[in-house]
Symmetry: C2
Subunit: 335 residues, 2 copies
């Protein structure tokens, strides 16, 4: 590709700012616009916002609809929300200006069964304007759905798929520890879990992506959040957790066909969790047991895959795409 | 897919026969033809040839050009040879009858740099007849090229890719043990290696596929075959190997950019080889170390992936495709 790809960064939270940093490292990409609704960010240089060594000479704009029309770009990196309902009008605005989209919106990763109406509407709009829309990330989008699906490619038969993503939260940043409930009492944890604020978003979408690829129709999915409870006191950088309090989260997604549990996704993140890993187990012919000891760092991998996805999304057939129906995404940069 | 996919099996060696068996297990596939040039196989029922419990009511035909014209099919599974030059006229015949192709021909997996003339001719022919041609398999095609490439999708940067495929040949079938030189003296091994009959075909193609995906231009590739030598006597099912004789093969492919070794592929198969595994190591940001302890059985996985590839190849854009530019292949069967 000789001409550079023109990218708009839409959403400048932690993932959006890291995305700016990663985008500047690619010699085939030009950042041509940045959009965020936060008045404190509007007008700020994106280099400063992303804490890069130097300003980039490009300021955040707030009126997204007008800005979108005026910016001549190939694709928008959309990192605003996990919610399909909230992201829907943003997507419609973007595609109506003829721009492709790569997003980290978890609920957009495979919305065909969770919200077929919005999925159909977004797909139709993307086709109308001849652009492609993809949501991806490390999880959902890669480790717990795309990668196990790809591994079944060498299987003669598949009966059951299990994925474990086990993380030791001891040395992770404070917002991550807070997000998984570290230091809460069990009742506090249960309350937050019920409200949905402790939930990792995406297990259901991951199960649907796996099942759709395998040709399975899941009759039921469950997604249950449990606390990991300290059996002895534990000290992390910013927390002292007493015995009986919460060390983190253990979330399990289960998908069923004919009453059998055919997909099991285990997402566990807790202080002091032993043997952190990403692991894929396929019960089939042959059985496959694949492990990444230590696991893959989530924030970095999510930003990397959305940046790596950019040229693939631009070249994809128009419509709302999933990781199962586009060409493989890989890192790409001339050495 | 409600209508069944009509498949011709072309080439009825061990892989072709196993492919017949796997094809019969898929409810979305009909085998509608079988072709082989061996007079001993022509006229034989393919169920008998594949040692299935029952004949399938379909006999092997020999005049491939005429047979191809007469058979109404969507795709041909082409398992005749490892050689690009030998498979080229077969492919031209097949695509001229409007049929897609999935092949196990190792040299066809990424021929754009090893033989750009034939690659261009096959690509043009496939486009002319609006069909797709893909070569795949477990290796080359998956473990040592596609899978590492896919893993770089979550990387911010990649400096070096290493893949190890280490197999213990102790309990493998006799032809495999013979193929890797078990029981030869070192001079016998060297002679066969020089002739090319001991070589695993595909390391160079795998390196080119990885490099093309990463946007790297390899200035040099090497592919060196060494014997694994017994330091003490060893007994396998059909061999007694003396100390100093050959236990198997250790083949290493290396790819270079700017004088640096950026791709290393290690294929080692020997009697008594400890710690058999498939392992992918990416030196980058982040580093990735992924392992499948025990490794994946090659013959089964190759047949599985060509059968799994069938619906994907049929739906691909026309032309000579590679694993890096088609939608991901997964197992698929309604539970």
């Amino acid at each position: 590709m000789d001409e550079k790809i023109r990218v708009v960064q839409y959403g400048l939270g932690p993932i959006g700012c890291k995305s700016i940093e990663f985008l500047t490292e690619r010699n085939h990409i030009d950042i041509v616009g940045a959009i965020d609704s936060d008045p404190k960010k509007v007008g700020v240089d994106i280099g400063d916002l992303a804490t890069l060594p130097e300003p980039l000479g490009l300021r955040v704009e707030d009126n997204s609809k007008e800005a979108l029309r005026e910016i001549n770009a190939d694709i928008v990196v959309l990192t605003t929300t996990s919610s399909l309902e909230q992201i829907c009008p943003q997507i419609l605005d973007i595609v109506s200006t003829g721009k492709n989209i790569v997003s980290t919106c978890e609920e957009l990763m495979y919305p065909w069964l969770t919200n077929p109406e919005i999925a159909g509407m977004l797909d139709a709009a993307a086709r109308e304007y001849n652009v492609s829309v993809l949501s991806t990330g490390v999880n959902p989008g890669f480790l717990m759905d795309f990668l196990p699906l790809v591994m079944t490619g060498v299987c003669r038969n598949v009966n059951q798929v299990t994925v474990e993503r086990i993380q030791n939260a001891q040395f992770r940043r404070l917002p991550f520890q807070t997000k998984i409930g570290v230091g809460l009492t069990v009742p506090q944890f249960e309350e937050k879990a019920t409200q949905g604020s402790l939930r990792h978003v995406g297990l259901t979408e991951s199960m649907h992506l796996i099942a759709s690829g395998l040709g399975w129709r899941l009759e039921e999915t469950t997604d249950i959040v449990n606390p990991v409870i300290a059996s002895q006191p534990m000290v992390a950088s910013s927390f002292t957790v007493k015995s009986g309090e919460v060390l983190g989260v253990n979330q399990i997604g289960r998908g069923y066909v004919n009453g059998e549990e055919v997909i099991t996704l285990v997402f566990k993140a807790a202080l002091g969790e032993p043997d952190p890993r990403d692991r894929i187990l396929i019960n089939g012919v042959p059985d496959i047991d694949m492990v990444i000891p230590g696991g893959i760092n989530g924030d970095m991998a999510t930003c990397a895959i959305i940046v790596n996805a950019i040229p693939v999304v631009i070249q994809s057939p128009p419509g709302l795409r999933t990781m199962a129906d586009i060409s493989p995404i890989s890192f790409s940069k001339r050495l």
